[in-house]
């Protein structure tokens, strides 16, 4: 009976639902991309700089301990409410797993290969792009996967700062104690997270464990 209500609602409000879904996905993708760019850049910048690395890694590890809702709340006084602050908050949420994984992957890339690369006359950037990054790719991918799941679930909280998305239905559903509305938000979010996890795992297997050189 409840399911019939949900389906009936979706029939009437299909466009509105799709918009919320689109917004949820877009918010997640944008913040993931931003976190990837920032995280990989930072990881590359600190790979040969132990002191700077120590500082950056500690700050970012600290970020990881903040609850998602707190991160969203902190952005409000700084950036106001709406989509942009939500994306900024989600970027901060996605950064730690990406940066920490990339850092470990780049730092621990086969030291003999790195020594040989430097010794044969590769520039810093060549060592980074031709040796360290390819060797760190699995670690970086794993970080991205963790971040993806965190961002999809974290985006559920975006309505609290006016970011919209599927979380709207959950917040409203809880507010008026209307279970069908709540499910309209909760089920697609769960499916998104599960789908992302499943497909990323498939992609990872495709990319890395079937390679001849591993």
């Amino acid at each position: 009976m409840m399911l019939a209500t949900v389906v009936g609602w979706l029939n009437q409000h299909g466009a509105e639902f799709l918009l919320a879904l689109w917004r949820h996905v877009m918010m997640s993708l944008l913040s993931l991309s931003a976190a990837l760019v920032i995280g990989l850049f930072l990881a590359a910048a600190i790979v040969d700089r132990a002191k700077l690395g120590f500082i950056v890694i500690n700050i970012v590890s600290g970020l990881r301990t903040l609850p998602s809702l707190a991160v969203l709340a902190i952005t409000v006084p700084l950036f106001g409410i709406g989509l942009t602050p939500a994306i900024i908050a989600l970027t901060i949420l996605a950064l730690p797993p990406i940066l920490l994984n990339a850092h470990v992957g780049l730092r621990d890339a086969d030291p003999d290969a790195v020594e040989a690369a430097v010794g044969m006359g590769m520039h810093r950037l060549q060592v980074l792009l031709q040796i360290r990054f390819p060797l760190a790719a699995p670690a970086i991918f794993a970080g991205g996967q963790t971040a993806t799941i965190q961002v999809i679930s974290g985006a559920t909280l975006a309505p609290f700062i006016g970011g919209g998305g599927l979380g709207d239905y959950i917040v409203t559903g809880i507010g008026i104690l209307d279970i069908p509305t709540l499910l309209i938000g909760a089920i697609p979010i769960a499916l998104l997270a599960l789908g992302a996890e499943y497909s990323l795992t498939r992609i990872e297997r495709r990319l890395f464990s079937e390679e001849l050189w591993r």
Partner: protein, 309 residues
């Protein structure tokens, strides 16, 4: 070709790795840098291609002070082989060998030709190896690829840090022999770091013996074995150095004319005195007939000639 002048490397006031070291390595020769671990030999090697910079002193390569040369272009003209080889695991053998030529911007055809040529030079005949990855090769094969990669751009200088250290003893001996053979063909100035006196004696035109960051003796193997400069060198080369020395001479170097006294046992002229002495002991004879490849007698070798060599 390579000259170090009063080179000192200090990591901290208490930790001096190399102390006032002066050495001259002549073009086309192999200098074996040898000493116990921690004596600073690897530091010396890494200062030549500027992976480390000396605290004081000068290093000249091809009469140019390396401190004035861009380290990247310096390194592209110095082959470098490290103990764990350091092949790039994510690149094929072909891409590994081609690494330096690519950095130097060679065109594809030239690189391909050179890669195949090098594969043959290091004794790997099968071209299909080129498409494999380092993981798919045996330890000995990987080590050969490491040498091939270092030789790819035909650098005049080769630096090798314990290149045969990670290989089992049997394969190591074979690789050392092959490497000696390769070196004879390509004529490079080589600095070989090792802690294995046998390897140093086998491959080095000169031996540079180091202790606690200082150069104790730098001379040819024959001189080192005959006149060790002090008790440290004497201990280092081992109690049996008088016997080892015999490996450095060929029978043909010291044989005397064919004698009429019938020496029934025969030895080929290319064998070492070490081998000749071993034969005499096992056969319990005092002299051997030296034969050429065709088997005709060209001389005699006696116990006395060996002892006085």
């Amino acid at each position: 070709m390579i000259r170090l002048e009063h080179v000192t490397k200090r990591y901290s006031p208490e930790r001096t790795s190399v102390e006032d070291l002066t050495i001259d390595i002549k073009e086309g020769t192999t200098a074996a840098l040898i000493g116990p671990s921690g004596c600073g030999k690897t530091t010396v090697l890494r200062m030549i291609n500027r992976l480390l910079d000396p605290t004081s002193g000068r290093i000249l390569v091809d009469s140019k002070d390396v401190a004035t040369v861009d380290p990247v272009s310096l390194r592209r003209h110095i082959g470098y082989v490290i103990q764990n080889i350091g092949l790039f695991p994510h690149l094929t053998i072909e891409e590994n060998i081609a690494a330096v030529p690519r950095l130097l911007g060679w065109d594809h055809r030239k690189i391909k030709q050179r890669t195949e040529e090098l594969l043959h030079l290091v004794g790997l005949e099968a071209n299909e190896l080129l498409r494999r990855y380092p993981k798919q090769l045996s330890g000995g094969q990987r080590q050969r690829i490491g040498v091939a990669r270092a030789l790819a751009a035909d650098p005049p200088i080769l630096l090798m840090d314990e290149p045969f250290g990670a290989i089992d003893p049997i394969a190591r001996t074979r690789l050392q022999d092959e490497f000696k053979h390769i070196l004879a063909k390509v004529r490079k100035t080589v600095v070989l770091v090792t802690h294995d006196i046998d390897e140093a004696l086998k491959l080095g035109d000169t031996l540079a013996i180091m202790r606690d960051g200082r150069l104790v003796q730098h001379a040819t193997p024959k001189v080192v074995l005959q006149q060790p400069s002090d008790s440290f060198v004497n201990d280092f080369i081992g109690a049996d150095h008088a016997i080892r020395r015999l490996e450095l001479f060929k029978v043909s170097d010291v044989m005397i004319g064919p004698s009429r006294t019938s020496a029934t046992a025969k030895i080929e002229e290319g064998q070492t005195l070490h081998r000749a002495l071993a034969m005499m002991i096992s056969l319990n004879v005092d002299c051997l007939s030296v034969v050429d490849r065709a088997g005709s007698i060209i001389g005699t070798i006696t116990r006395d000639t060996i002892f006085s060599a």
